[in-house]
Symmetry: C2
Subunit: 359 residues, 2 copies
């Protein structure tokens, strides 16, 4: 790479200062890292020399190797880096992580495992003390990659079973039951489910035989919770359309088209993410259907956007920021143990749900 402005090549090292000041490198080091044990006269002389030579202070690169600790947490995902700043869920989570890091003075390094080996800065090469993983998609690969690094890590939003890794999750079954019960109590009897992916890159109406087969446990558990509760209201869950989406606009809208194409369209939608619920509200409104007068919707996650949209979204709120905080602390206070925490969720009733329309 190009050398700094000056023609002179190498930056000044601690050893150069030591030589110029006529002390050993040990003493020179102490001047910067433990000044109190150096005699004042010497300390001042060395500092003066350093100043005069334009020494930038002990290089963290060298210090790191010796100390072994970076003092930073890596946050990894398979999405591109901009995901951290654009996705509402990620943003709230990151804010929580930030708070814990601020409190202890640790730094945050963002890592994308999008195209793996190709990147100069990736899970394998990131200079961090541990990882927090957003296992949105491609979770298994991300976990595998990170495991090889042999650093402490916590998996969040993890969608698959693996008892050997630390993770912080939520009670998906309880959450989806809350959602379904809420709608059931409002009198709804015709439902549709907008589902998160069963496996990567698969979308479409889910056939009955695939219903129990979701690879991702989050999907499976939420579906189970919905159905469990719907059954209690006497609903035949085999008749409830479940549309698998990629949690983005195109497939979600395709799902809505499909769901509302039938003769008896649902009066209530159970969406496995706020993202989908928000898209659904937009789609329904554009189509002239009123929320919640014609169709009620319950989301899942509890992102801030849900409170701001029109109508405000009824949802199952995760303690997103708290999860972030705990994850960060897990890495910061790592003690070698595998920790698994399940956080509670709560139903937040806003205006996207109302009584079932009278037929």
């Amino acid at each position: 790479m190009a050398s700094p402005i000056e023609g002179q090549a190498r930056p000044i090292r601690l050893a150069d200062i030591a030589k110029a000041a006529g002390v050993s490198h040990g003493t020179a080091s102490n001047v910067f890292s433990r000044p109190e044990i150096v005699r004042q006269e010497v300390r001042e002389r060395v500092k003066a020399v350093a100043e005069a030579m334009g020494y930038a202070g002990p290089d963290p690169k060298g210090r790191l190797l010796r100390a072994g600790k970076v003092n930073a947490i890596g946050v990894g995902t398979t999405e591109p880096l901009s995901y951290f700043f654009e996705d509402p869920f990620a943003r709230v989570m990151m804010a929580g992580i930030s708070q814990a890091c601020d409190a202890t003075g640790a730094g945050i390094a963002l890592v994308s495992a999008q195209n793996d080996e190709k990147l100069a800065w990736n899970i394998q090469s990131a200079l961090v003390d541990g990882f927090i993983l957003f296992c949105i998609e491609g979770g298994p690969r991300l976990v595998e990659l990170t495991r090889e690094r042999r650093l402490p890590f916590v998996a969040l939003a993890i969608g698959f079973d693996d008892d050997t890794i630390s993770m912080i999750g939520i009670d998906n079954v309880a959450g989806s039951r809350l959602a379904a019960r809420h709608l059931g109590e409002l009198g709804h009897r015709r439902f549709a489910v907008l589902s998160l992916p069963f496996v990567d890159d698969s979308t479409g109406l889910v056939t009955p035989e695939r219903l129990g087969t979701a690879l991702y446990t989050a999907t499976r558990d939420r579906l189970a919770g919905y159905f469990e509760e719907l059954s209690r209201f006497g609903i035949d869950t085999n008749k409830v359309p479940v549309y698998e989406t990629g949690n983005e606009e195109t497939s979600t809208k395709a799902g809505l088209e499909t769901i509302f194409a039938g003769a008896e369209p649902p009066t209530a939608i159970l969406a496995m993410s706020d993202r989908m619920a928000l898209i659904a509200i937009e789609w329904l409104t554009a189509r002239g259907l009123k929320v919640p007068e014609d169709v009620s919707i319950v989301g899942f996650d509890g992102v801030p956007e849900g409170a701001l949209c029109d109508p405000p979204l009824t949802t199952i709120a995760q303690p997103i920021a708290e999860i972030g905080r705990r994850a960060a602390r897990m890495i910061l206070d790592y003690d070698g143990a595998v920790r698994r925490e399940t956080m509670g969720v709560e139903l937040v009733v806003r205006a996207s749900t109302g009584p079932a329309p009278r037929t």
Copy 2:
């Protein structure tokens, strides 16, 4: 029998693998970093040994010292780390930076210079190849701190003059003139300005003699642009109240109280940030004043929130993401030169401005 420190299994080093496989460090190193130059048989043997011993691969810490390059950009601010995820302006900027980093495979490290020396991970110790600085507040200190590190850096949103550092800014005068002209053309004649800070931690109505004295050039330039254009409409700028805020809720609302306490309240507000403009809309609405029927407002920045609020905000849009992208590239392609770029801005007319009410 067992080695002295049995409990603390020291992580396996490359040298351990080399010894176990019966090759030199040089060869062992090549197996991982330049496998093509190692004979296949040897390569496989070494890899097998590494696998068997549970070697995590070459430690980036060691590699770093040798290579000298971290492959990551540090983004610094005087705010807490959560600022990056909570502030709309910062988020869009970070998304731009992320895109440039994704494209080249670089990583991002977040650095807060909030309480300086105290933190384990700060401007002095962050492992990065260069810095992008958000000079929101305490800019001078942040720049000074970073300068000492002697790494390439770019200052963004910088509010003060210093020709010796690289920066990317916007044409503040042109932007504020656009805002003022827009309102002037709509027939407004009674104005008020919600100003960014003149100096840190100062708020309140600005006395005429202080008007030209803002330490921050962004504030000074925007004010100059407003006044220049207002004069062309024959407005006596000495009579235009300018209220200095901290760009947050409390002082902005205090400013509004003051501004609207007079006998002849303004029909148009020039806000130096969208943040303030949004707060103003909320405040006015709560007070029963209609925007834009009673009062028109023009913001500054062009954050996404401005398009979503009610009414949508007319504003001077900066190319925020593009600034982020350029800043990242400046660091990534650093060549030792000081670069200073000024980006254009544009007036985005939405619904927060309308014709002046008839008196």
